[in-house]
């Protein structure tokens, strides 16, 4: 009897998990299926059915008409530089906040914490005006600086927390007694010890930067400095949509991040879990 209950509940548990998995995966599978339909097939046929014939020309047309090479290059460029700079700056500030005793820390740390809850949208206009008058409109730098700044609050919060609880004072003291300055201690001891939290920060800011849409759209004109999310609306406008190609452009757009996720899924889920709740 007990075995029956156990067996039954195992099945129920699995069913629940399978149900949720299907619910998350199906929309993405559906998207890829639609990308092989002609616009006419999509509009007149059932949304549940497979394409009447697999129309691969959509991929040709979308690839040749959108600057995916440029978009992809920019996405990688923005994401990698943002990640590197945010990780370094956050480690530096985190170390100072956690281990160098100054009364002003409380104020500064609080200032960064406020930034976690602030929304980008609420500063969009003054930021646009500032970037424009600084001559940084439609430049890579003009996008990178806001990206870095917006990644900092969460990163500094995580770093400070990690260093405060994870790097023993004795270790730093020992190094200081050996005559190492604060900076040297940071480079030789603290930074290497912070690799776990740095990974978390890197993942969070990579995903955030990779998917960022609104700032990139407002701070650039033309395709030169746009990143992948810009491709999304190109086959769908206020005067009509070409659905087959719309879904094709969406499919091409999510392939890189899907591959990235498939390869690093273990590190990503672990890293996010460790980062989102204080270590």
């Amino acid at each position: 009897m007990k075995n029956v209950i156990k067996y039954g509940s195992t099945i129920i548990m699995y069913l629940i998990m399978v149900l949720f998995t299907v619910m998350t995966i199906y929309p993405i599978v559906w998207l890829f299926i639609q990308s092989f339909k002609t616009n006419q097939d999509y509009m007149t046929g059932s949304k549940l059915s497979l394409p009447t014939n697999w129309f691969t020309l959509n991929y040709d047309i979308v690839w040749n008409n959108l600057n995916f090479n440029t978009f992809f290059y920019n996405s990688v460029y923005y994401s990698i530089i943002t990640v590197i700079v945010v990780v370094i700056l956050a480690n530096m500030a985190g170390y100072a906040f956690a281990k160098i005793d100054f009364p002003i820390t409380k104020v500064l740390f609080g200032l960064f914490i406020v930034g976690i809850l602030l929304t980008i949208q609420s500063i969009l206009i003054p930021l646009f005006v500032m970037i424009f008058s600084a001559g940084l409109f439609n430049t890579r730098l003009g996008i990178l600086i806001p990206y870095i700044a917006l990644g900092l609050p969460m990163a500094i919060y995580l770093c400070t927390d990690f260093i405060r609880n994870g790097v023993p004072d004795e270790l730093i003291e020992a190094a200081r007694i050996d005559g190492a300055g604060y900076i040297k201690t940071f480079v030789s001891i603290v930074f290497p010890m912070c690799i776990p939290v740095s990974v978390t920060i890197a993942i969070i800011s990579f995903i955030g930067t990779w998917n960022e849409f609104i700032l990139m759209n407002i701070l650039t004109a033309g395709d030169r400095f746009k990143s992948i999310p810009a491709a999304v609306g190109r086959f769908s406008g206020s005067l009509g949509s070409d659905y087959g190609r719309l879904f094709t452009s969406l499919s091409i757009s999510i392939i890189p991040i899907l591959l990235f996720y498939i390869i690093f899924r273990k590190q990503i889920t672990k890293g996010v879990a460790a980062g989102a709740v204080k270590g």
């Binding site: 629940i16 700056l89 980008i120 604060y182 999304v232």
Partner: protein, 305 residues
Amino acid sequence: MHMTMKTQKKLSYALLVLPALVVYLAVVAFPTIFSVILSLTNYNGGLIFGNPDIEVVGFTSYRWMFTEPTRSFYTSLRNNLLIVGVSVFGQIPLGFILAYILNQKLIKRGRGFFQSMIFLPYVISPIIIGVLFNAMIINPRSLYWEVARFFNPDIQFTLHSNPMLPVLFVILWMFTGFYMIIFLAHMQRIDPAILEAARIDGANEPRVLRHIVLPAMTSEIVTCAILAISGSLKTFDLIYAMTNGGPAGQTRVLSLFMYLSAFSGAPNYPLANAISTVMVIISIILIVVVRWAAKLFDRHGGYGK
């Protein structure tokens, strides 16, 4: 060599903190203050400095925002609160339940697979998700309605009367996996021996959950609530792509309301800046409330570190 310890300490501190501080102040703090100032003027594009047409007009834009007849501000605020609701009372409990199931010994195979799959939506751009779900849910011939009609051919198309429902559903879909991952990581830290002992003592699952797992997770639940609330206020891309606030502005949130005021059609920067300022104030109030709540939980639960 001749530097005193104190100077060296000060210099190092400055060197470590300043780069982050400067970038942050320039890009986040300064525009925030700037936005508050602009909200009190009639600045509406063009030159900011040395523009003779700019006047201080006080709270005109605020008055307009709170009293204008279409009541867009209140609709947007209500929608933001709905999203907070679905985050705190939808994503978090659901994420907790899924994590709890995954943490059982019952699920032996595929734990990593389920975990990765349910978390997947979190890494996809909200813009893409918005366009995708617009096609999947909203139209009368969408996937959702085809499935619904398969089960009940007489079902009436009524989505237009509850326009926020599909948006809330998608938000639930996007973030449940995120909370599941966090809860799971912390459940795995609970000493299995304690759970085992309780079970041997004859405690059934609900009792184990209530008396051991839940209390151990209080502080994580509070943290998740903080994340959920702040995330909810930031919702923008998804709705922008999925409904653009329509029909009749019924799915607008504050950030979209601000964006549309500033960047669509004739710009109304003063109004947009006023909305920004109110959003900043709401954020600050939330921070205070949440910190207060966290302290309260810490004191009563004692599950801080």
